[in-house]
Symmetry: C2
Subunit: 460 residues, 2 copies
Amino acid sequence: MPRYGFDMIRKSLLAAGAALILPAIVHATPADPGTVQKAALQDDVALDITEGLTTEVGPRLAGTDAEARARDWSVAKLKALGFSNVRIEEYKMPVWVRGEEQASITSPFPAYMAVTALGNSGATGAKGIEAEVVYFPTLADFQAAPDAAVKGKIAFVSHAMKAAQDGSGYGPFGQARRIGPNLAAKKGAVAIVIRSIGTDSHRLPHTGVTMFEKDVMPIPAAALSVPDAENLERILARGQPVRMKLLLTPRFVGEKVSGNVIAEVPGSDPAAGLVVGACHLDSWDLGTGAIDDASGCGIVAAAAKQVMAAGQPRRTIRVLWAGAEEVGGFGGDAYFESHKNEAHALAMESDSGADRVWQIAYRMPEALKPLASRIAAALEPLGIPPTMEQAHGGADVEHLLKSGVNGIDLRQDATRYFDLHHTADDTFDKIDPVQLRQNVAAWATVFSIAANTQDDLLHK
Amino acid sequence: MPRYGFDMIRKSLLAAGAALILPAIVHATPADPGTVQKAALQDDVALDITEGLTTEVGPRLAGTDAEARARDWSVAKLKALGFSNVRIEEYKMPVWVRGEEQASITSPFPAYMAVTALGNSGATGAKGIEAEVVYFPTLADFQAAPDAAVKGKIAFVSHAMKAAQDGSGYGPFGQARRIGPNLAAKKGAVAIVIRSIGTDSHRLPHTGVTMFEKDVMPIPAAALSVPDAENLERILARGQPVRMKLLLTPRFVGEKVSGNVIAEVPGSDPAAGLVVGACHLDSWDLGTGAIDDASGCGIVAAAAKQVMAAGQPRRTIRVLWAGAEEVGGFGGDAYFESHKNEAHALAMESDSGADRVWQIAYRMPEALKPLASRIAAALEPLGIPPTMEQAHGGADVEHLLKSGVNGIDLRQDATRYFDLHHTADDTFDKIDPVQLRQNVAAWATVFSIAANTQDDLLHK
């Protein structure tokens, strides 16, 4: 179906801006967006949730007892905040857990390397392995290499990811992590190490999931911290053979229970469809999952709570704190499987940290252009312009968007997100309360408008 | 003896500035400071030394094989650079080495804590210990606590160190590390953990030496990373008893050989006294000792080499790459013991990283005020003003200064120094080549003037 572009939004924005000066619209009930936005800029709920999850639960690896504790914590918290229909929806999934991890260069110069296994990595055995390192500056170089250059060696694949506000480096450069290990296994490498998919300069490697094809035996696959990858490049530049010792003992522990936590602000008109705000409750095991994604859960719940406080909305706002996102989107899959036949009016997701929303993107039909413009006008005080790029949601709502549900992305400033992403450094101290509140205000504004509009959000 | 203040320097600066416009002085030989400074701003030797030591040797813990490798590397490098009288001067020292280290909160919430043993820490035994945590927001609070509040517990001593350009927080806040463990042992604590003496927010704890009195049995003593210390404070703020499990297995391995590396640019007038430029070659074991202190060794050697290239100086410039600074200044002690009877004209030390020199301080008698002013005038193009504070050198030259040798401090910007200091993050990627060259230029300027001046630097 046709999607409108930037110019059309801008024109409608001007019209909407003019309309907004009418007092009858500005002070409408039950949930005037301007009033909700102003209240949300004072919000403490998002910070409290982020602090609580990171302090009282900590790391929440999918399918583990820690993730189960997080679900229990969340149910208690969401009930205490006044949400309705708070429940856990369980599902099963295969669970991978980290073991010991050590890497060092044994020759020509001894050097300890900060390393961490990638999710789904194979193991080296308890004694580790030692082999020559073969270096590829980019994934393309590795893809082009003949098997003979790799066979029996530890492949080292680097890249040159740099920080970007829209996080756009993660897609292409992240391929070294996502497909590099499977390729290394097929080429006969005994293991693969990649330069962390990250933009920092700290000795804290970035984990993240990798995927092996069904008929490919997983090999040990790990990320070196950025300073270690650079040190290894300098050692390799000396031109002598370089040998690495690698110990990784992760393992699969079988099928375990994971689950989604769901809570609602019931609307007055069930036929108008659901407004879903998603985040994910699980985290990687190295940090405490503050920016990824406790803050996202804080933002969506705090925004829904702000709308709740302003009076019952027309549409039900459903908060989805999904499980098991990091390791393959099992929570999002399970949600869609269970709820795909319900009427969804709009789906949104917060999963890029806690820094300010800098841009809004839509995925809505032509007929909803005036609504999009009203939303953009309401976000102007928060410094959030619209983009002509299309919303794409996130792992927890992508099935909904692909099935045709309207989507809005409140894009967060990702400039420093990949400094912290999937590292031990993803901790509560990285949260900026002022920027977090701006997120809550943006979400509350969109929830308030979308949950109350008389537009038909179900028929496109 | 009387020391001049800032106003006197400033007045002389004006006079010196006027003198510098005379061409005969500006283009003097053998080592015109302006020409040397200009050449030094293009220097690559300091970066090359820093890169080489961190890449080819890596961590260089005092008294270990790694430090011995660093000495051999240094001798080869300094000879290749054209220095004379390159030699190693050995001494013996007790050596402490790190073992395993793990910390976690076991209740009320399980939480992994990034931890590292302090130098000279006792061990927990292979099974670790578990005890209740008792919290003190400051060292003063800990000092004031009755023994009964600490006995049998793990003391947790925090503080609020913040970054400062002159690094002035390290002295007072660092006392938690230096004297906290001895005090904890005397009060009957089973162990002590401190908030890292650092100004960063990364999960990389800061090690550093602590000292136990002779009749005090060392207890396990460790630093938590700053984010972990803050997490522990949040956990404690819940008001429930907090228990920590701690595993530290460091040990003393007896008396071992360490050594100083010395190299010289021989002067034409041995009676005029030595100009000594010091750094330290050893490093802590967590990082690769880039800012602490490979870069310092790079700076002093590169500056001496710049003066060497400009023609033989009047005074011998002696480069002292001291061993075993971090663990108690054994190299500086040994140097003074062996060389105290030689005539030292000036002693300087570079041991605060690789960021730019922002200030010069002196410790010289009244009679050398005009020399100080000439030096200050020559540093003006590098943006380095004089301060009225007195030079204090560093651990490797402090005995010389205390014995009355002239001292000059080229103070480095320490704003980010304590983000990295004594952590795994002290790696080559933290070096800014432009600021490093400014250091070399400042040092070369001072060396050039001090090694050639006709002033009597020996009789005060």
